[in-house]
Structure formats: structure tokens, C-alpha cells
């Protein structure tokens, strides 16, 4: 992406002016200082897989994905610039300038971390980036939905520093003392590249789905290798500065992350393309989904038979309405 960076900024601007459905998600992927060639290769493989998946599978515009790496020459086609602190600062400023209120910005860090507390660092070529510095850097994005995924080792202490309103913070470790190389980024990215993470089957991946998938697969990997896990990922999205290892949208963390879809513009566009004729069906579908959601919340307080009967009734109706929408039928 680097080769066309300047041109694409301009094109993006045109497109932004052209339609409300464009550029809903802005993604910045940063791979840090590798230290060893094997890490450089691993970080790049992970990041480039994510770049490709977001663009080709998840409908994120090519222009809305920025990939900064230690060595931009490694893959001039995909990498947009060096992952120095200065370049990252500039990139965030550019996104801030072009993103609109309510849009989504996702910052994903892949690499090594060190230190602790507010001085907790993500290792970059040149000066490292501290959690406190990142907090300042992201402050101008306050009108947008922001997600920070620090998938590096020793990333846990970023969470309380970055936690805030309208913000999802994910860290690969629970503290800065979990300093071994993390498996989390590999599986977080796999949530977007392989089937299996889309648990609500809406053909889009939310941050909650990606987090849950990654966490489960990391646990499975440690178990398969007969090793004790040295990383425990956390997610915070209620701004209380406390991460949850098992976020549950019904209680505390997880609610915003469930709604935070990375990409998904094509799906949204496809629904819109059916035009006003389907709007009544879409409204019915939304209402049914809400009713099902509400019913599921009441499951524990209902008799099993009554719950199952009502669930089936709603699911059948939802299936019929959805089928009608897909087939372009009128209500």
C-alpha cells in the first residue's frame, strides 16, 4: 500500500464525499521492533494476513487500512510506512482528520512490549511508545468509536491507561509481567482470515467475536503443547479501567465490543441495495432480532417449555422474513 499511499489519500477523499456507506472503519496496523529476524518474519506474516483479510473479506476499503512496519522495504506493496513513533503520530493525525464522528478507528499493535504501568511500552524502531504517550495520541479521536488491540507481550498495563468511554481496549496479557512472546496476535488475526469466529453468523466479525476466538484458540494451543499459559488476554469496553478475561455483554465488558464490527461495509451496502421495497421486512427482521435477544435474556426466569415454544415461534418467523429479504420479496 505504501507505493500508492499519497494517491489513495486523495481518492479516499473523493469517495468519502460520494457516499455515506464508505470509510466506516479505519484500521492502523503497527508491527514493532522485532529484535530477531524470525520475529520480523512472524510479525509481518501476521500483519499482512490481516491486511489482506480486511480488504478482501471484510469490506474495509484498501485506503482505510494503514500498515506501518519496522522495515517498509520488506513488502512495499502492503506496508505504508515505517513504524516509528513519528510516523504513527502522523498517521493517527491523518485518520483523525478524515474520519467523521461515529466512525470506527482500530489500532492494532503486533510486537514486543516492556516496562510497567503508565510507562509500559510498545517497542518501536527508534523511541518506544509508552501507554501514556498513546493515550495523548488518541485523545483527538474522542468523537469516534476507537479500539486499541495491543497484542504484544507485556501489554496488560496499557489497558488501564487507555480505558475510556466509547473505547474498546484489548491486551494480549493481563499485566506487564507476562513477557513471553504472545500467541494472541496469530489467533486474533485468524478470526478474520479463517472461518469459525463469526459466532452470530452475520458474516461480519465483531471485536468481541475476534477476542473470544483468539482467547479460546490461545488456550487450546497451550493445552495441546502441554504448556502452562503465559498470556491471559483482557478486554475492556465500559471504561472502568478493569479488563475482563471472559467479557459478557449482559454484565460489564463486551457490550460495545459486540457491536464494534471491523469492516462489514459490503454487507451493509448489500442490504441497502435492495432498496426501500425491503425496508418493511428489514424493520420486521430487526424487531424480531430484538425480541429474540430479549427472550434469551429472560431464559433463566422462564419455564423451559414456554421458552422453547416462544423461541421457536420467533426463530421461524425470523427465518421466513430473512428469506423474503434475500429473495427480494415484498412483505
Amino acid at each position: 500500500m505504501k507505493a500508492e499511499y499519497g494517491i489513495r489519500i486523495a481518492v479516499c477523499g473523493l469517495l468519502l464525499a460520494g457516499g455515506a456507506l464508505r470509510a466506516q472503519t479505519h484500521v492502523i496496523i503497527v508491527t514493532g521492533a522485532s529484535g530477531e529476524s524470525k520475529y520480523a518474519a512472524s510479525f509481518h506474516a501476521t500483519a499482512s494476513a490481516l491486511v489482506d483479510a480486511l480488504v478482501t473479506k471484510h469490506g474495509v476499503a484498501d485506503d482505510d487500512v494503514t500498515y506501518l512496519a519496522e522495515d517498509p522495504a520488506r513488502d512495499a506493496k502492503r506496508i505504508d510506512g515505517k513504524s516509528s513513533k513519528a510516523q504513527l503520530t502522523q498517521t493517527i493525525a491523518q485518520v483523525t482528520a478524515r474520519a467523521r464522528a461515529g466512525e470506527r478507528v482500530v489500532l492494532i499493535l503486533i510486537g514486543h512490549g516492556s516496562h510497567a504501568g503508565a510507562d509500559s511500552r510498545f517497542n518501536l524502531p527508534g523511541p518506544d511508545l509508552t501507554a501514556a504517550e498513546m493515550s495523548v495520541m488518541l485523545a483527538p479521536l474522542r468523537s469516534m468509536q476507537v479500539a486499541i488491540v495491543n497484542a504484544a507481550s507485556a501489554s496488560g498495563d496499557f489497558l488501564p491507561v487507555l480505558s475510556g468511554k466509547n473505547r474498546v481496549v484489548i491486551t494480549a496479557t493481563k499485566t506487564s509481567y507476562e513477557r513471553n512472546e504472545t500467541l494472541f496476535p496469530r489467533y486474533f488475526v485468524a478470526a478474520f482470515t479463517t472461518p469459525g469466529a463469526d459466532t452470530d453468523k452475520d458474516e461480519r466479525i465483531s471485536l468481541l467475536e475476534a477476542f473470544t476466538y483468539a482467547k479460546r484458540e490461545v488456550a487450546r494451543a497451550y493445552e495441546t503443547d502441554n504448556r502452562l499459559p503465559t498470556e491471559h488476554a483482557l478486554l475492556d469496553d465500559d471504561g472502568d479501567k478493569r479488563g475482563s478475561p471472559e467479557p459478557d455483554p449482559r454484565a460489564g465488558d463486551g457490550s460495545l465490543a459486540r457491536r464494534f464490527i471491523v469492516g462489514g461495509e459490503r454487507a451493509a451496502a448489500a442490504v441497502a441495495a435492495n432498496g426501500p421495497a425491503a425496508s418493511e421486512l428489514v424493520t420486521r427482521r430487526t424487531r424480531l432480532e430484538t425480541q429474540i435477544d430479549s427472550l434469551r435474556r429472560r431464559k433463566d426466569s422462564m419455564a423451559a417449555d414456554a421458552y422453547e415454544r416462544e423461541l421457536e415461534r420467533l426463530l421461524v418467523e425470523l427465518a421466513q422474513v430473512s428469506q423474503a429479504i434475500r429473495e427480494g420479496r415484498t412483505p
Binding site: P195, K201, L315
Partner: protein
């Protein structure tokens, strides 16, 4: 020298000599005591005898006491008694009364022993506190618990008033008193241990204190501490008979070989050591050698004719031989000293249990509890054995009672801790089977186990014409520690599965490393035990039961129990494996660590030989005969052969069957045990590996084909099949590579990677049936990888095995994938294919509950609804 000066000098020399004599005696006494501590009992006894006449009275007394003790250590009880009686008649003779009493007590002469102790106590001998202790113990021996308790209670006061002034020997007496009092107040076990520690601290040479502390650890089933204690003593004195005996018991706890030889070393020092003879009797009972067991117990009785344990072991031996009259007589004798003693019935229960007569063990333990319900030993024995036959409520009650009286008993505590975790287990019931599996994996494992168990039950019932009592309970443990506690009470002990008859226990595949365990062959093996134990009323010898179980594994699936261990052929050729008539020894007192594992295979060869030589019904006939007869008559009646003839037949069978393999391994009877085999087979493997390293695949193929032809049953680490598969693959011949790998996996039941690789090759070759079989084999090694179930489900659906495909889809759901909706949807589809639309509809609703907008599931739901498949 002048006369005067000469006289002066002589006077001076005489004075020095007078002064030097006692000093030399003191030195010699110390030397002799040191010799005794190092195990040089005879030379020490000689010196003690000489010093018994020392002019220094204190040296003489110490020497006399030690002399009696040294003679007793060597089992020279007559000499010891004679010496002791001689010494008691001499000045300060009261100080030899306790050693005299000890010798008399050892020989079961309790009345004169009591007189000696009474006299020692009344004459205020230096060891009068010990004398008081012994008097209490004599009361206990004779069933006067209240009287004994009164005596022991006095020791608490002694400790409280004189604590720091007590000698090491006195502290030892206090420790023993506290240990006895612990039966009523378990907190006193802690005091006993403290007093033992104090006794050892006061005199590190007090070996008795160290031995008794070790024995108390053994009583509490605390093997590690006991091992440490006895190990320390044996380091200083490798021939201490009681320490050798203690270490032998530790080895029995650990299920490790070597107990037998340690007991024999103990008996080499003192051939009349009662406890060693009794231990040997127990070991003989374990190896189902009942005549020898009685002989050893009888030899113990030659020293102590009233030994309750001796009579109890004779009773046990006669019980196992169905000698009812002899059993009654020995039982009567066992209760002569103390009619309320639990020793007889707990011993009978222990022997019955170790010989797999679990119901009888419960019955005996129940009688022990009836005799003395305050005995933690009796309560614990009943609880443990009730657990073995699946009487959980009864077990819990009695284990709780035992624990209340003895909370330091490691076995009981571990077992109760395990029972506390049973709430986490899920029970799956069918008419024939109750499966108890941890909730985290019950839904994954139960369908496979039930399918296999049903198949096994049908086949075994048809083969043996017998159906064991149902329901058969199978417990599956996720940790080796829990399995060990359930089966033997202590963590860390061997075995993959256990059958108590219709109660089976086994490791979950998650409890073992991938590649070392096959949970399918294990459950089949244990189920076969349920048949052989039930059919023989639990009278089958262990080796035979194991042999049949391994043989049945081989019949169940290609690869299970099939690999011929190279180690077996080497050990057999070197004469390290026992003949049929002594096969139980390899299971109960193996001569070397691997012998038991190899004996499983050998026992299965016995079964094959019997089937080949005497027909397919011969084994079933043998099993029927065991209900009423012992091994000798059974073999004679069914096979018309003596034990010796059967031994010869097996030897001929093995040598003929494996003649080529023996020659290829180049091993023989004269080889040293640690010499690796150096035959042609080994050379070919080395040559083939070198060719592989050089990248010369054609040459490697030629060499490994020759190796394979020499020993076609071998599929262990250096399996020629695997090398051949790799070489063929490297040359691009995938079909032959797959054929070699297939042959390997049909011999090696636990090679997970080989099955995965084979499945991949067969998938490439378009062989879905073969790939499915390989994946299924892999799943019986480790069922936790979702992708295997996914691949298998797809193959099974494609080849029309829809019911099995449903099982695989259920396994994926049970593995709790992140994408549960997809897993349930796929299960629903498989159910549709299998014709179970009602279940399919339930599953698709569950999928949609997870993901209401799931388009494919919605379509399926509408499709099912149109076709009327209501749940």
C-alpha cells in the same frame, strides 16, 4: 636400673594398667556399639560378651544389654534368652530385664515377658519407663484396651513433667505410648512424631526411634517420608533387618519391584524375624502362591506361636484355597490373644482385595467393624473395599468414620478428597453401563465409550457364553493422581485402567501424553476383565486375566495390543521371563522394572497358544473350571497337562513362532542384561538410517524391506514401516507410502502422528474409507482436536456412514468450539442425513438460538418445518 627405681617403675606401670583397663573397655564398648550400628552384629556380640565382665559396672551393664540385643538381631533368641537370664542374676541385673522381656515377647511368651517387665519396673531399672510401656503393650496385645490406655496415659504426665530431662530411650517410650493413644485421639499422632523427633535429636544413634518413626509413616500410608527415614538408616547400616523390611513395604506401596529381595536380605540377617516372614507370606499371597504363603507364616509361628497376624495370614491362605476347615482353625487361633482384635478380618480383607475378591473383602471388613467399630483400620478397610464394588454411600460413611479417628491417614484423606470432587462428574446411564466422566469431557467421550462398550459386551458375551452383572460402572479420570487414588489410594502409581469386576476405572485420554495411550484398547481391556472376573467368581489368576484381556484387545481392532515388544523377545531369549507356572511373579514381584509390561504380552501369547493347540473353546472352558478349582486342577482337567508340561509347551510355541525374530535380534541366554541386541535386524536399521541421512531413498527402501521381513511385528520407535513410508513418499510413490504407514498403524496402537499423516495421504489418494479409519484410530489416541472430527465427519457422510457422522458432529459440539452455531448446524445436517429429523430440528433451533441470523440454519429450519419434523 636399680632395684628401688625398678620397683618404682613397676609400681607405676601397674597403676597405669589399673587406670587404663576401664578406659580400654569404654573404647571397646564404643567400638562394638559402632559395629552394631553398621550391621556387624556377630563381631559386636563377641565384644559385648567380653565386656559383660568388665570391672566397670556401668560398662558391664551396657555391654550385657547390648549383647542380648545383638544376639536377638541375628535371631539367636535361645542364646539371647540364656545370656539375659545369666545377666539378670548378676549385680545390677534389673537393667537387663527389659531386653529379656523383649526376647520373650518376640517368641510369644507373654506371661514370662510380663514378669520380666514388671520386675524391671518395680526394681527401678534404668529403663523402667520402657518396662512400663511394654506392660501397656502386653495388655493391648491381649485385648485389654482400657488397661493399656491407662498405662499409656501416664506417659503424657511423664513427658509434661520431665520432658527435657528424658533420655532418648525414654522419649522413644513416650513416642510409642502416644502412637498407641492416637487410636483414640488422633492429635496424639502428632505428639508421637514430635517425641520420635526429640528421641532422634537426643541421640542420633537411636536407630529404634528412626525405624519406628518410619513405621508410623507407613501406617499412615505416607510413603515418601517412610522412604526417606528407612533410606537414611540403610545408608548407615545396609543390613538393618527392620529398615530393610520397612523399605520393602515402601516398594510395595509404590508398586515398584524389589520388595522380595529386600525381605530376603532382612532374613539373611535374622532368618527368624517374624515380621519379615509375615511380609514374605503377604508377598506370596499377592502372587497367588498360597502354599508358600502358609509355609512362610508357619515359619513365623515357629518363633512366635501366638502371632495373630501369622495365624491370620494362614487363614487367608486357606481361604484362597477354599480350605474351609483349615480356615476356621487358623481364624480361631488368630483371635486367641484378643477375641476383639480386628487384625484377622482386616488381614483377610486386604488379602481378598489384593486377590481381586472384592465382595469377600467387604464382607471381612464388615466383620472387623462389627468386632471393633472404634478401629479406624477396620472402618477404613470397609470404606475402601465398598468403594471398589461401587457401594459409594457405604464407602463414604465408613471412610468418614475412619478419617474422624485418623485424619493423618494419607490414603483415606486422598480418597475422601476425591469423593468430594464427584460433583463435577457427569453420569451417563444405559441399561448396561453407567459412565462417570468429568463434566468437561463427558459429552465428548461418552458416545464413543458407550458404542465401544456395547460392541465389546456383545462380542465377549457371545465368545464366553457369560454375561457379567450389569450395570457395569466405568469411571474415567482426568488426572493420573485421581485415578491412582481411586484405584490404590495413593497418587503416582502405575496402570492405565483397573477392573474391580463390574466397576471399572481408567484414565481419560486427557490424563496421558498423546502417543502413549489408547483409551479404546484400555476400556476394551478392562471390560474383558469384567467378564473373566465375573465368570470365575474372581478366582482367575491375574496373569491369565491380563492375558485374555490383551488377547481380546487384539481381536477388537487392528493395532490394539498388537505390537510385539522387542523388549519382550530380548528378555525372553535371555531367560528373564518366567514360565507359565510362575507368571504371576512378573505381575506381583517383577524381577526388573519392565517385566510386568512385558508379561502382559507373554500372557496373551499363552492364550493364543491355548487357542491354537486346544481349540477356540478352551479358554472359555478354563474360565468355567476356575469357579470350583485352582490353577493346577483347572489346567489338568481342561488341557490335560501338568504345569511343567504347559511351561514346556509355551516355550516351544514362542521359540517356534519367533525363531526368525530371535535370530535377527542376535540375543541369547548368556547375554548380559544391559547388553543391547546386536543382530542383523539392528544392523539393518542402522544401515537404513544412514541411507536416509545420505538421501539415498532407493537404498534405504531395500534395506528397510529386509529389516521388515526379519521382524514384521515390530512397529516401535525404529519401525521399518515408518522409514519405508517416508522413503516412498520422498520418491513420490504416495500409494506405497500410505500402504507402509497403514501397516505401521495396524501394529502400533498409539502412534497419533502416523495416523494423521496416513489420513492426509489417503485423502490425497481419494480413499475416504481408509482416511476415515485412520482418523478414527487417531481419535482413540487423542480425541481433542476438532479438525480431526471435522474431517472424519465429512468422510463418513460422503461414504454414507451417517450415524457415525452424527457421532463426530456431536464430538465437535462437545469440544465447545467458538463457532457453536456452525457446529450445531452441521450436527443438524448430519442428523437429517441419518434420518433423525426430530433431533435435527432441535439442533438447528439451538444453532439459531446462538445465532438467530444464521442464514443456512434458517433455511434448514424452514425445510424441516415444511417436512413436519416437530421435536
Amino acid at each position: 636400673m636399680t632395684l628401688r627405681s625398678g620397683l618404682t617403675q613397676l609400681m607405676a606401670m601397674a597403676l597405669v594398667a589399673c587406670a587404663a583397663a576401664p578406659q580400654d573397655d569404654a573404647t571397646r564398648l564404643a567400638q562394638a556399639q559402632s559395629q552394631m550400628r553398621r550391621g556387624a552384629y556377630d563381631s559386636a556380640a563377641t565384644i559385648f560378651a567380653e565386656l559383660a565382665g568388665s570391672s566397670d559396672a556401668s560398662i558391664a551393664v551396657a555391654a550385657r544389654r547390648s549383647h542380648v540385643r545383638a544376639l536377638a538381631e541375628r535371631g539367636r533368641y535361645d542364646d539371647a534368652e540364656a545370656a539375659a537370664r545369666r545377666y539378670t542374676a548378676q549385680p545390677r541385673g534389673e537393667n537387663v530385664l527389659v531386653p529379656l522381656g523383649d526376647v520373650l515377647r518376640t517368641r510369644g511368651r507373654l506371661a514370662p515377658a510380663e514378669s520380666a517387665y514388671t520386675l524391671a519396673a518395680s526394681r527401678r531399672a534404668t529403663d523402667s519407663l520402657t518396662a512400663r510401656l511394654r506392660l501397656g503393650e502386653l495388655r493391648l496385645d491381649q485385648g485389654d484396651r482400657a488397661g493399656a490406655r491407662r498405662v499409656f496415659d501416664g506417659f503424657i504426665d511423664v513427658y509434661n513433667t520431665r520432658g527435657e530431662r528424658l533420655t532418648s530411650a525414654e522419649l522413644l517410650a513416650v513416642a510409642r505410648a502416644c502412637r498407641h493413644l492416637g487410636a483414640d485421639d488422633p492429635q496424639l499422632f502428632k505428639d508421637a512424631l514430635r517425641a520420635y523427633d526429640a528421641a532422634i535429636a537426643a541421640d542420633s544413634g537411636n536407630i529404634d526411634a528412626r525405624i519406628e518413626a518410619g513405621e508410623m509413616f507407613l501406617e499412615k500410608y505416607n510413603g515418601p517420608d517412610a522412604r526417606q527415614m528407612f533410606g537414611g538408616i540403610l545408608k548407615e547400616n545396609p543390613s538393618n533387618p527392620r529398615a530393610l523390611l520397612g523399605m520393602a513395604r515402601v516398594l510395595v506401596f509404590d508398586g515398584a519391584p524389589g520388595a522380595d529381595s529386600l525381605v530376603k536380605r532382612s532374613l539373611a540377617v535374622n532368618e527368624r524375624l517374624v515380621d519379615a516372614r509375615l511380609m514374605l507370606a503377604r508377598l506370596r499371597l499377592d502372587s497367588e502362591d498360597y502354599d508358600d504363603a502358609e509355609r512362610e507364616a508357619t515359619r513365623a509361628l515357629e518363633t512366635d506361636p501366638g502371632s495373630p497376624v501369622g495365624h491370620a495370614l494362614i487363614a487367608a491362605s486357606r481361604y484362597m484355597r477354599d480350605d474351609r476347615k483349615g480356615f476356621d482353625e487358623a481364624s480361631r487361633r488368630a483371635l486367641e490373644r484378643d477375641p476383639k482384635s480386628v487384625v484377622l478380618h482386616t488381614t483377610l480383607a486386604e488379602v481378598a482385595s489384593r486377590n481381586r475378591r472384592y465382595q469377600a473383602a467387604v464382607d471381612f471388613a464388615r466383620r472387623a467393624v462389627m468386632l471393633d467399630s472404634s478401629s479406624s483400620l477396620a472402618q477404613g478397610t470397609l470404606g475402601m473395599n465398598a468403594l471398589r464394588i461401587g457401594q459409594f454411600d457405604t464407602a463414604r460413611v465408613h471412610l468418614d468414620r475412619a478419617f474422624a479417628r485418623d485424619p493423618y491417614h494419607v490414603w483415606i484423606k486422598n480418597t475422601l478428597d476425591l469423593l468430594d470432587t464427584f460433583g463435577q462428574y457427569k453420569e451417563t446411564r444405559t441399561k448396561r453401563f453407567h459412565l462417570i466422566i468429568h463434566g468437561r469431557e463427558a459429552d465428548l467421550l461418552a458416545p464413543y465409550l458407550l458404542e465401544l462398550l456395547d460392541e465389546g459386551y456383545e462380542k465377549l458375551a457371545a465368545r464366553y457364553g457369560y454375561e457379567p452383572p450389569t450395570p457395569i460402572r466405568l469411571e474415567v479420570y482426568r488426572s493420573h493422581g485421581d485415578f491412582s487414588v481411586r484405584t490404590v489410594g495413593l497418587p503416582g502409581l502405575g496402570a492405565l485402567g483397573v477392573s474391580f469386576g463390574s466397576v471399572l476405572a481408567m484414565h481419560s485420554p486427557s490424563a496421558r501424553k498423546v502417543g502413549e495411550y489408547n483409551w479404546g484398547s484400555t476400556v476394551w481391556h478392562e471390560l474383558a476383565h469384567a467378564f473373566t472376573l465375573g465368570m470365575t467368581d474372581h478366582r482367575i489368576p491375574r496373569w491369565l486375566s491380563e492375558g485374555i484381556s490383551v488377547r481380546e484387545e487384539r481381536r477388537a481392532r487392528p493395532g490394539w495390543g498388537a505390537d510385539t515388544p522387542l523388549g519382550f523377545l530380548v528378555a525372553y531369549a535371555r531367560g528373564q521371563m518366567p514360565p507359565v507356572s510362575r507368571m504371576n511373579d512378573a505381575f506381583t514381584r517383577p524381577a526388573f522394572p519392565e517385566q510386568t509390561a512385558l508379561a502382559y504380552y507373554q500372557a496373551s501369547l499363552v492364550i493364543e497358544m491355548i487357542e491354537e493347540n486346544f481349540g477356540p473353546r478352551a479358554v472359555a472352558d478354563i474360565l468355567k473350571e476356575y469357579r470350583t478349582n485352582g490353577t493346577g486342577p483347572v489346567i489338568q482337567r481342561t488341557l490335560k497337562a501338568s504345569a511343567q508340561q504347559l511351561d514346556n509347551q509355551l516355550d516351544a510355541y514362542i521359540r517356534k513362532r519367533f525363531a526368525r525374530q530371535f535370530a535377527a535380534l542376535g540375543v541369547g541366554a548368556g547375554d548380559a542384561a544391559d547388553r543391547p541386541p546386536r543382530g542383523e535386524f539392528m544392523s539393518l536399521i542402522a544401515e537404513g538410517r544412514a541411507a536416509v541421512a545420505r538421501g539415498q531413498h532407493a537404498e534405504a527402501i531395500a534395506v528397510f524391506e529386509r529389516a521388515k521381513a526379519l521382524f514384521p511385528e515390530y512397529a516401535e520407535d525404529e519401525s521399518p514401516y515408518r522409514y519405508l513410508a517416508a522413503a516412498y513418499k520422498a520418491t513420490g510413490d504416495l500409494r506405497r507410502a500410505a500402504a507402509e504407514l497403514q501397516a505401521h498403524t495396524l501394529l502400533n496402537e498409539a502412534d497419533y502422528e502416523a495416523n494423521i499423516e496416513l489420513a492426509g495421504m489417503l485423502e490425497q489418494l481419494g480413499d475416504r474409507v481408509g482416511a476415515a479409519a485412520a482418523l478414527e484410530r487417531a481419535i482413540w489416541i487423542s480425541p481433542y482436536e476438532p479438525s480431526l472430527h471435522l474431517r472424519l465427519a465429512e468422510h463418513l457422510s460422503a461414504i454414507g456412514e451417517h450415524k457415525k457422522a452424527v457421532r463426530e458432529r456431536r464430538a465437535i459440539v462437545a469440544l465447545d468450539p467458538v463457532d457453536r452455531a456452525e457446529a450445531r448446524y452441521q450436527l443438524a445436517r448430519a442428523l437429517v442425513d441419518a434420518g433423525d429429523r426430530a433431533s435435527a430440528r432441535r439442533e438447528v433451533l439451538l444453532a439459531l438460538e446462538e445465532a438467530p441470523s444464521f442464514e443456512r440454519a434458517q433455511t434448514l429450519l424452514l425445510e424441516l418445518r415444511r417436512e413436519g419434523g416437530r421435536p
